[in-house]
Amino acid sequence: MRNVGEVIARRNEESAGALIGYLPVGFPTLDASVDAAVALVENGVDVLELGLPYSDPVMDGTVIQAATQEALANGFRLAHGFEAVRRVTERVDAPVLLMTYWNPVVQYGVDRFADDLAAAGGAGLITPDLIPDEAADWIAASERTGLDRVFLAAPTSTDARLRQTIDASRGFVYAVSTMGITGARTDVDRAARTLVGRLRGAGATASCVGVGISTAAQVAEVLEYAEGAIVGSALVKALADGGVDAAGALAAELARGTARQ
C-alpha cells in the first residue's frame, strides 16, 4: 500500500523530512511527463503530485500556466491523468497524488473519479480551489475508497479554519508558504514557519510547505520545521528548459536538502 502519511512519517524518521515533487500530466507530452515523474522519484522525490491541466488555473503562476496550457493545446484529456498515474505507479513505488481544480472532478463525477483514481493506483487528491466547507461529496467518496485528501492552509486562515482543515485532511496538510500563487521565489516567506507552528499546535501531524521553494537550501530550511517540502514551478521549468534529464538532476539536487543537518 502506497500511503502518503506513512511515507512522510518514515522520511521524518530517517531524514529531515519528505520531498514532494509536482509536474503536470501531458507536458511536454504524456510520455515525457510520465518519464519525468519517474525520474523525479529515481532521484529522491518521495511523493509525487501530478497536476491535471485546467483551463482556468487561478492558483498557478506563469510557469505552470504555460506548461498546462501547452498540455491542453496538445490534447490533454482527463483520462490521461489516470493513465499517467497507472504508468508511473507501475514503474516506481512512491505514492502519487493528483492535484486538480474542482470542476473537472465534478464533471467526471466525484464517485467515478475516486473509483478510477483508486483503480489506477493513485493515493488521493490535492484540491487547490476546494475548501472543506464545499467538499462533502469528495469527503464521502474518499472515505469510501480510502483515498487521501489534501486541503490547503493559508497564513490568513483563522485557528478555527486550521482545525477544520486538519480534521478534513488525510495524508498531510498543504501549507501555503506565502500569500500568493505558485512560482519560485528567492525567499520562502517566514509566514510559513509561523503557519506550520500553528498547524502543529492545532493538532496536525504532517504539514508540507509549498509555493515558492526552488533550491536544496530552501528544502533544508523548510524541513527544519515542516514534515515535507513541495517543489513545483522549479521542476516544471527544468523540464521545460532541459527535458527529463534536467528535471531528474534538479530533483537530485533538491533531495540533498532532505539530509539531516
Binding site: Y54, S55, L72, N103, Q107, I131, D133, E134, A154, R161
Partner: protein
C-alpha cells in the same frame, strides 16, 4: 419564502465559495463588513447621496414608440442606465463596494473588466476616493474597447492587458484573482458582476437592485400597471438581476434574460451560457457554464465584450431552474440591427450589450402583441462601441464590410 428574500451563499444548488483557502479570510472580511454596512443607516445614506449627486439617480425611463412599431405594436419602455455617470449601470455596484473598501481600511482596489465599463467605473471610484487601482482586461478587449482603456488610464488606473487563455473577460478574472491571492492583505477586489464566490453574487445584486425598484414604480406611474415583461441582456448578469429583482415576486411579470448568441447557438461561437451550458464550477461559484466533457471551460464568443463570458451568476441559474426567468439567445447580427434601429428611430445609441435586450424585446413584442408593455434595461450607452459599429455598418470611408 419570497424569492426576493433569497440570500447567498447558495441559490438553490448554485453559488457557494469554490476558492483557494488563501481567499477565505478576505471573503469573510468582506461578508462581515457588508453585513454590518447593511445594518448601518449611515452607509445606506452615503450610498444614496452618491447615487443622487454623483451618478444621477434616479435614472429616467423613456418610452420609445417609433422603435416599438417594430415590436408588434407592444409598448416598449427603456430604463435609462445609459445616462448614469460613466455610461452604464456598473457605477451603482462600484460605489457600494468602494465605500466598503474604505470601511475595511484597504488602500488598493483591483477589478476585471470586459467591455471596460466596470473598469471605467472602478477607476472612477478610485479617483473619487483616492484609492490605488489596477484593472485587468483581456488583450482582445483592450483592442476592441480602446477608448475605455484610455479613459481608465486618464483616471489614474493601471490597466493590465491579460494575454493568457482566450485573452477576454474570463482570463481577466483569473489574473485579478491571482493578484488578490497574492496581495489580499492590502487589496480589495471590486468584482463587477453577480458571479464569483459569496458574498459577490448577493452583494452586487443588492447594489444593482435599485434599477428595478425605481423602474417598477416609474412604469406604474406611467402606465398604471406593472409591465407584461422585463427584458435585459445577460453576460455575468448584473444589470439583469438589477432590473429583475424588484419583480421576482410579481408572478404576472415575465422576466427574460437575453444571452449573447454570437454567430448562432448552433455554432461553437457564442456565449449563451444558460441556453447551451450545464452546471459546473468556475470563478468561485457553482452555476451554468460553457464547458467540454472534461469540465474545461470553452472559450465564448460575442461581438459584445461585456457579454463575452462563459459563466453566469448563480442567482440566474437558480431563476432558470425554477422557471421564474426565461433565458434566450440573441445573435451578434440581431443585436447590431437592434442597435441601429434604436439609434435611427429614437436617437439613442445603446451599448452592444444592451442591444441584445432590445433585439429580444422586438421578438417578445411580436409574441406578446399590442396589449403588452415591455420594460427593457438599457444598461449602457454605445459610445465605446463606435469603432465596432463603424466597421460593422461600413461607416468609415471605404464602404460596408
Amino acid at each position: 419564502m419570497a424569492l426576493r428574500a433569497q440570500t447567498g451563499p447558495y441559490f438553490g444548488e448554485f453559488g457557494g465559495r469554490f476558492v483557494p483557502e488563501s481567499l477565505v479570510a478576505a471573503l469573510d472580511e468582506l461578508s462581515e463588513a457588508y453585513s454590518l454596512a447593511k445594518l448601518d443607516p449611515a452607509f445606506g445614506d452615503e450610498l444614496a447621496d452618491l447615487g443622487r449627486n454623483y451618478t444621477g439617480r434616479p435614472s429616467i425611463i423613456t418610452e420609445v414608440p417609433r422603435f416599438a412599431e417594430h415590436a408588434g405594436g407592444a409598448r416598449v419602455i427603456l430604463k435609462r442606465e445609459d445616462l448614469n455617470h460613466t455610461g452604464s449601470h456598473k457605477i451603482n455596484n462600484v460605489l457600494g463596494q468602494a465605500l466598503l473598501t474604505k470601511r475595511i481600511g484597504k488602500q488598493r482596489v483591483i477589478a476585471e473588466t470586459g467591455a471596460g465599463q466596470h473598469g471605467v467605473a472602478t477607476a472612477t471610484a478610485a479617483a473619487l476616493f483616492g484609492l490605488d487601482c489596477t484593472i485587468y482586461m483581456g488583450q482582445v478587449d483592450t483592442e476592441r474597447q480602446a477608448l475605455n482603456v484610455a479613459r481608465m488610464r486618464l483616471l489614474g488606473a493601471e490597466v493590465v492587458a491579460v494575454k493568457t487563455g482566450s485573452r477576454t473577460l474570463k482570463d481577466a478574472i483569473n489574473d485579478a484573482m491571482r493578484d488578490w491571492v497574492t496581495n489580499v492583505e492590502t487589496t480589495n477586489y471590486i468584482f463587477g458582476t453577480v458571479a464569483g464566490p459569496h458574498p459577490f453574487p448577493e452583494m452586487v445584486r443588492d447594489f444593482q437592485k435599485i434599477i428595478g425598484e425605481e423602474a417598477r414604480q416609474q412604469v406604474l406611474d406611467l402606465t398604471g400597471a406593472l409591465p407584461t415583461a422585463v427584458a435585459a441582456c445577460v453576460g455575468g448578469g448584473s444589470n439583469a438581476i438589477g432590473i429583475f429583482h424588484a419583480f421576482l415576486d410579481d408572478a404576472d411579470v415575465a422576466l427574460y434574460g437575453f444571452e449573447a448568441g454570437g454567430e448562432g447557438v448552433e455554432t461553437p461561437r457564442h456565449a449563451a451560457t444558460i441556453s447551451k451550458g450545464r452546471p459546473g464550477v468556475l470563478h468561485g461559484a457553482r452555476s451554468y457554464l460553457l464547458q467540454d466533457e472534461d469540465g474545461q471551460t470553452i472559450e465564448s464568443h460575442s461581438i459584445s465584450a461585456g457579454l463575452d463570458y462563459p459563466g453566469v451568476g448563480p442567482e440566474h441559474s437558480w431563476l432558470a431552474a425554477l422557471g421564474r426567468a426565461t433565458y434566450r439567445a440573441v445573435t451578434d447580427d440581431a443585436a447590431m440591427q437592434a442597435l441601429r434601429l434604436l439609434t435611427r428611430s429614437e436617437g439613442i445609441i445603446p451599448a452592444i450589450e444592451s442591444a441584445h435586450a432590445l433585439a429580444g424585446a422586438l421578438e417578445l413584442g411580436t409574441e406578446l402583441g399590442p396589449d403588452a408593455t415591455i420594460l427593457v434595461n438599457l444598461s449602457g450607452r454605445g459610445d465605446k462601441d463606435m469603432d465596432t459599429a463603424a466597421r460593422y455598418f461600413g461607416l468609415y470611408d471605404g464602404g460596408e464590410q
